[in-house]
Symmetry: C2
Subunit: 150 residues, 2 copies
């Protein structure tokens, strides 16, 4: 398994991963070619040193996972930086093999490397398995994750 920053040519494969998901299929638009909006979004992410869009490759150089790690500077916690994980997806046929755990452990190590004081995420209450998965990795469900969609 190799972790690396996503390149522009990875965008279609990433979108395919995002769309192949119970909740993701309702909100993504995976077509060939993928809509330009995804490439525009990639360019914004890629130009921002506080954003790391990560892909995971297997030994055949196939893209089997993705996550986005954001580093957000606040005044709180004496001027601390928070790491935030979002958009975690693993290719359907390799789920249940421990890849997710390795991805989150990688993200935790990366957050420590960048001197974040906390790493955080929100997980949909419709994914009870995800809650248990993150708890096993040391996350504490101390907060309510609240959303207002426009």
């Amino acid at each position: 398994m190799l972790f690396r920053k996503a390149a522009r040519q990875d965008v279609p494969s990433i979108v395919q991963l995002l769309a192949n998901d119970k909740l993701g299929q309702l909100r993504e638009n995976y077509t060939d070619p993928v809509p330009d909006a995804y490439f525009t979004a990639f360019d914004h992410i890629n130009a921002d040193p506080n954003q790391e869009l990560i892909v995971v490759e297997n030994t055949e150089k196939e893209l089997i996972g993705t996550l986005q790690l954001s580093f957000i500077q606040y005044l709180t916690y004496r001027g601390g930086v928070r790491a935030q994980i979002e958009a975690v997806r693993i290719r359907e046929d390799v789920r249940g093999e421990g890849i997710g755990q390795k991805m989150i452990e990688w993200a935790i190590a990366r957050a420590r490397e960048r001197k974040a004081h906390v790493i955080q995420l929100t997980t949909d209450k419709q994914r009870p398995d995800a809650l248990r998965f993150y708890e096993k990795l040391g996350f504490n469900a101390s907060h309510e994750g609240m959303k207002l969609h426009f």
Copy 2:
């Protein structure tokens, strides 16, 4: 009430607000002068066009509230931008006057203006009043907010 982006000279007043809080007093360090780490953090926030550290002034130009609004670009939701609210504080002597509601309504309007598709926040489960407050403003506690502190 006036909403504006924070300036460097507001940092001590903002830190005072952050520290004057049940949970905040455990993690902030409000001294005179305030530690340099807060100014360094302010400079990072201020240099980033995706971060808006906001202060609220009353008619006497006193600083009575603060919040930070972050705009985070993702590939998810067809290349959507999320707005995220953090570090909301209101000066103790003016709480219960509807200022918090106006601040969150301001943040919602600002998020729409910047074309975010969702506005989100996490609130500590130790603050049940805050949960009800955000629900009244239209937020849905659809997610678990998970943290791992280093």
